[in-house]
Every structure is written in structure tokens, then in C-alpha cells.
């Protein structure tokens, strides 16, 4: 799939929870689950584009799920229907799933974003373990392709009280995918290694180009420094050096 630089038009940008938004951009976009786009929703604004995972793709639109973090996502949240947004992508290596897997998806917070598309593509027997600080946001499109959803919240207001790793046991699965805060992913990988279950993690790092040109987004792996934007963002969980 060739990467493209395109100017897209916003179809919808809706707040689905406190500080969490779903953005649809019209057009025929390509990409696999776990890949991402670099987005720019401004002419005058922060210098760098912002990496956001593909949350879903339909024939005529692409969907991003994003969380308010700072300057860039603030501007995203103010975009309205018909506004322009620039996109570079699809970028990076996504999840290397197989159809009909018995998979567990383990997310923390906005890490749930790529799992919407992933679950749709695996079409297998999938459970989701989704941890949130408080108000969970499980969008409709996600529910459709998932067997069981285990929600946990830090304050216990919904589902299990505590961290998502408190309810998760990898033994029932042939493959585990995880996306979320580093400490969570680290814990998930550790259990998976212990139980000898394959696990893939979606990593983040600060990016400039997003296409493998600047060498700015490296993380440490057991086989040296690797670029998150090109060799990731999805890595084999066993490869990543979490304590770098």
C-alpha cells in the first residue's frame, strides 16, 4: 500500500466521552489494523504533524479515535464538518494477525482505538480487556466483532475495579494484542511470556516525519534501536526493551 499525502475533508468529529473524540474523514483510504496516519488539522499551529492510529476504515471514510492531550489534539477537537485535514499514510507495520484467531485484545484508555479495526479484520473469537481511568468508551463498531468485553476502571465505577491486568489471563488465547500505557503493556507482555503466548504490542514515541526518514522515533529492542514509525508501531512483545 503506497503512502500518500492527501488533504481530506472532515465528515464528523464527535465527542464520545469526556476528552475523547471520533473523527471521520471522507475518502477512500487504505491501511491495515495497527497502522497509523500523521495528521495535521491546521495551517498555523504546532510545527509537527500528529500520529494517530487507524481506528477503522470503510470504503468511503477513515475513522480516528483520539484523546485530548495537548495543543494538537485540542485543535483536532475544534474541527468541524467540511474542515480540511491533511493526512500522511498509511504508515508503519500493523498487527500481523491471522483470520479466525482466538485472540485477546488488551487496551488501556485510548489504546482501544486500533482494536476497532483489528477486531473487524480478525473476525475470530475475540475477547477485549479494556481498562479506563473512569468513563469507558466502547463504541458500537467495536462491540460488533467481539465476544466478551471485560471492562475495568481505576475507580471501579464501571466493571472491574483496578487495572486491566487484574482480570486478564492469556492462557485461553492463541494470540494477544496490547495497546496502551507502557506499564500496562509491559505487564501484559510479562504474563504472556510466562504463559508462552504470542503477544504483539503497539508502541508510541515522539515522531517528526512518521515515514522513517528522520530516525527520531527509535525505541530500544533486543536487536538494537528500531523506528516506531517504520519498523513498528507494532512489535513482537518479546522484542521490546521496556525499561530503556
Amino acid at each position: 500500500m503506497a503512502k500518500e499525502y492527501v488533504i481530506g475533508k472532515i465528515e464528523e468529529n464527535i465527542r464520545i466521552e469526556d476528552g475523547v473524540y471520533e473523527l471521520s474523514v471522507g475518502g477512500n483510504f487504505s491501511g491495515n489494523p495497527g497502522q497509523f496516519y500523521m495528521l495535521r488539522g491546521w495551517r498555523e499551529g504546532p510545527f509537527l504533524n500528529r500520529p494517530i492510529s487507524i481506528s477503522n476504515i470503510y470504503k468511503d471514510k477513515i475513522i480516528f479515535l483520539y484523546e485530548l492531550k495537548g495543543k494538537g489534539t485540542k485543535i483536532f477537537s475544534q474541527l468541524k464538518e467540511n474542515d480540511e485535514i491533511k493526512l500522511i499514510g498509511p504508515l508503519g507495520r500493523g498487527f500481523s494477525f491471522e483470520k479466525d484467531e482466538k485472540a485477546a485484545l488488551v487496551s488501556g484508555g485510548i489504546g482501544v482505538a486500533p482494536f476497532v479495526y483489528l477486531s473487524r479484520k480478525i473476525m475470530g473469537d475475540i475477547d477485549l480487556y479494556a481498562g479506563f481511568r473512569k468513563n469507558p468508551y466502547i463504541i458500537k463498531d467495536l462491540k460488533e466483532n467481539i465476544n466478551q468485553i471485560y471492562i475495568s476502571t481505576e475507580d471501579g465505577s464501571v466493571g472491574y475495579k483496578g487495572l486491566v491486568t487484574g482480570v486478564f489471563n492469556p492462557e485461553r488465547y492463541t494470540k494477544v494484542y496490547t495497546c496502551g500505557p507502557i506499564p500496562m503493556m509491559k505487564a501484559v507482555v510479562e504474563i504472556c511470556i510466562e504463559k508462552n503466548i504470542p503477544v504483539e504490542v503497539s508502541m508510541e514515541s515522539r515522531m517528526a516525519c512518521g515515514i522513517g526518514a528522520c530516525l527520531g522515533c527509535t525505541i530500544e529492542t533486543i536487536s538494537g534501536m528500531k523506528m516506531v514509525c517504520k519498523e513498528g508501531p507494532v512489535f513482537n512483545g518479546r522484542e521490546v526493551v521496556f525499561d530503556a
Binding site: E4, Y5, I88, G212, A213, G224, K230
Partner: protein
């Protein structure tokens, strides 16, 4: 109309991809054909492979970014074996950007590169991102003179020296590089800058200091290009925060014969194509027949 000839080499246009921001070109192939460019500078090459710096490498600032890549590169040998053959196909002028920690290392790398098809060498004596990254060579005029002199003797190819904006006096340094045999000067490399993580109460970068680039630096680098172009007689390559054709023309009118686009590539991968096209439009509208007419016109 945008064509220009320097050091006996013809450039399709004056727009060159800056070192370290364009990889070896292939990442950009999906977006446009690198053959449209006037030239491409390679990522900074050292004699041996380097892994680069640990920790955070990129940090956004107002109007730019700090980087602390730390000279990650495959080394000249692997570059020649693996990357150069692909680059040769682009049909544009290639420039090898050479870094190093010792004069000896510079000389060896330059000798090796001289044995290839690459027509131009850009000597990077200005990388702020590794302890022995060469910037030490670019800060004082006498030291710059010494390293350029020695490297000069190691190659017959046009030798461009890429200057640091952090040096003691850029005009002095420039004059010394020319005296030592530089055929051209590129300015500037990144500015030494830093950022503090106030929550951790620590510098953001493991290395503390990082290199600032982007439009934030343009007024300063433009001034340096202007001052240096008045002082020396070799062609100048203007670099720093070029984001559109207007920026590029400012550099050219201030005295640059060529320009390099760096951080701008990150924002819009085909930014240079825009710059080339709009520059041509501007020239048409303003009755400028050749870029050479306006180099240093102000």
C-alpha cells in the same frame, strides 16, 4: 529557468533535500519522484556504523523542533553497498554529508566516498548531537581551518563545508574554511538548544543539548547567509526553516546559490516540489529569467 551550474555540475533547480531529513531518499518515493529535486544530501555518514542516541530524540518547540539523533547511520561502507545504488537511479545531484569525530575519520570517509559516483561532498563540522560529533571542529576558526585543509587534500571533488551557527564568529569561520580550500559553504546546521522537563526536573534529552531546526531559526540563519555571502566568494547553500518558495527566495536574494529544505520535509513530504513549482511561477510573474539573476540581489 531554475537551472543553475556550480562547480561544473548542473542542478535542475536550486532545491536540495537537507541531510538527515530525507534519509537516503527512498522513504519519499511514495510521495514524489526524487528526480524532481535539484539534489539530495545523504543522512550524515561516518566511517563506521553508529547507533545514535538513547532517550528522547525529537521534541517539538514553537516553530520548530529539537533533535538529538546522534548521527545514527550505517557507515560509509554499508551506505555505498546498500543505499547508493538506489540513489544513483534518482538522476539528481547527490551530495554525501560526512561527519566524524577525528580529522582522521573525516579523511578516511572522504577518501572512500571520493571513490564513488557521488559528485559533491558536504563536510559536516557542525553536528551538535554527539560528544565527538564534529561540532567542536566548527566552533573556532583556526580549528575549522585545520580540518578543512586536511580533508581538502583527501579529495578532488567539490568540497562544501557545512557550518555551525553556534560558532564564535560565522564570518571568520567561513573565511577560514574558504582559505583552507572549501569550494562552497552550507549554512546552517542546527542551533544548540535545550528543553527542560519541569515535572521530572531534568533536561528532556539524555545529551542535554540538542539541535534546533525549523522556521523558528530562519531569521537568524538568513542573516548568517547574508553576512557570509558578502564576505566570501564561493557559492553558498542556504539552509534553515525553508517552508515555502518565499523563504527559499529570501535566501537566494540574501546570497545563496542553492537552498536546502530540512524539517519542512517532515510536515509535507512533497514540500520541495511545491517550492520548485511556485518559485518558477514567481520568476515568470516577475520577469526573472534565471535564478542567477537574483542571487544576492539585495
Amino acid at each position: 529557468m531554475l537551472k543553475t551550474k556550480l562547480w561544473g555540475i548542473e542542478f535542475k533547480n536550486p532545491v536540495i533535500a537537507a541531510s538527515g531529513t530525507f534519509g537516503f531518499g527512498k522513504e519519499y518515493e511514495d510521495f514524489f519522484s526524487p528526480s524532481e529535486l535539484g539534489g539530495i544530501c545523504t543522512k550524515g555518514l561516518t566511517l563506521n556504523r553508529r547507533e545514535g542516541n538513547k532517550g528522547i530524540r525529537i521534541y517539538e518547540t514553537t516553530g520548530g523542533l529539537l533533535n538529538s539523533i546522534g548521527m545514527q547511520n550505517p557507515g560509509v561502507h554499508d551506505f555505498i553497498k546498500e543505499d547508493l545504488p538506489l540513489m544513483e537511479k534518482y538522476g539528481t545531484v547527490l551530495i554525501a554529508n560526512i561527519g566524524g569525530s577525528t580529522i582522521d575519520e573525516y579523511i578516511k570517509s572522504v577518501q572512500i566516498i571520493s571513490g564513488t559516483s557521488i559528485p559533491i561532498i558536504e563536510l559536516n563540522i557542525s553536528c551538535p548531537n554527539v560528544k565527538e560529533g564534529g561540532m567542536a571542529f566548527g566552533l573556532k576558526a583556526e580549528i575549522a581551518y585545520k580540518v578543512v585543509k586536511e580533508v581538502r587534500n583527501a579529495t578532488n571533488k567539490p568540497l562544501i563545508v557545512k557550518l555551525s551557527p553556534n560558532g564564535e564568529n560565522i564570518v571568520d569561520i567561513a573565511e577560514n574554511c574558504v582559505k583552507a580550500g572549501a569550494d562552497g559553504l552550507s549554512l546552517v546546521n542546527t542551533f544548540s538548544g535545550m528543553a527542560v522537563d519541569i515535572y521530572k526536573r531534568k533536561p528532556v534529552f539524555d545529551n542535554i543539548i540538542a539541535g534546533l531546526s525549523g522556521p523558528c531559526i530562519k531569521p537568524i540563519s538568513l542573516r548568517m547567509v547574508y553576512e557570509v555571502s558578502k564576505a566570501v566568494d564561493v557559492p553558498i547553500i542556504g539552509i534553515g526553516g525553508i517552508m515555502d518558495y518565499k523563504d527559499g527566495l529570501e535566501y537566494i536574494m540574501a546570497g545563496a546559490s542553492l537552498i536546502q529544505v530540512g524539517s519542512g520535509n517532515f510536515i509535507k513530504p512533497n514540500i520541495s516540489v511545491d517550492i520548485i513549482q511556485r518559485m518558477e511561477m514567481f520568476m515568470n510573474e516577475n520577469g526573472i529569467k534565471s535564478i542567477d539573476e537574483i542571487v544576492g540581489i539585495i
